[in-house]
Amino acid sequence: MWRTELWHPLVVHFPIALLLVGTGIRLLGALYEHGSRLEAFVPAGRLLIGLGTVGAWIAVYTGTLADAEVVRSLCDPTVVEAHEYWAYWVAGLFTAGGIVDAVVWSGRVSLPARRVLLVLLAGCLLAGSAGVTYVGHLGARLVYQQGAAVHHPGPDCAAFE
């Protein structure tokens, strides 16, 4: 039987992968974008980060649904709070990075301003990636240390007979 809290693990691994890989590709593209074979990394990175950011907000939403279902069964709900808090930071940082990159993409900025924006973009993406890692760590603590959203079969395994 489907449970509401299972939407979150179904969704959350896509933004983790997309944002981490997208950050690496976008930053490589920024270093070598002009006339290089890596030029295509720029739009590729943008696409991955765009999809990952949408996924991150969906993960935040499904995480809120899961929170309401599982928090009463946890021994340490403060981990959920930290998980939620840093997830908002991650989604916010990648959203901000997307805004900055959109301005860079528009081409309506001077070269010095563009350099500043690329540094800002790198800051958002690297901080966001560190955040993704930490939020993932907190999510793993919830599942593997506290059994959040994990179904425990009875000791006689009768449900599997």
Partner: protein, 108 residues
Amino acid sequence: MRGFSLFASVLLVVGLLAGCGGEETAVVESGTYEGTISEVNAEEREIYVDVPDTGTLELYFTDSTRVLRDTTQASFGALQSNQRVAVEVEKVGRRLDPITVTILNDGA
């Protein structure tokens, strides 16, 4: 100037979005605490109570949590922000299970 405006906008966006993530809450020993309700989440049957010198308690109601007003039973719907309440909690692990929430006054 445009760069500075964008930088400030980005900081604002990040700050606003991250600010949605809630607040740090306190874990206390079992007992009774008096404070003020700072937030009521009816959908999740959850309240936040600011306790002076202690911090904010996040309390998820259980099936056995009772709400009292003048020693008589009240419903969860009677709880509102800014009410003074006394909460009796049981610490289970690092989770706080509310046993009773007594409304002391209806606040401002």
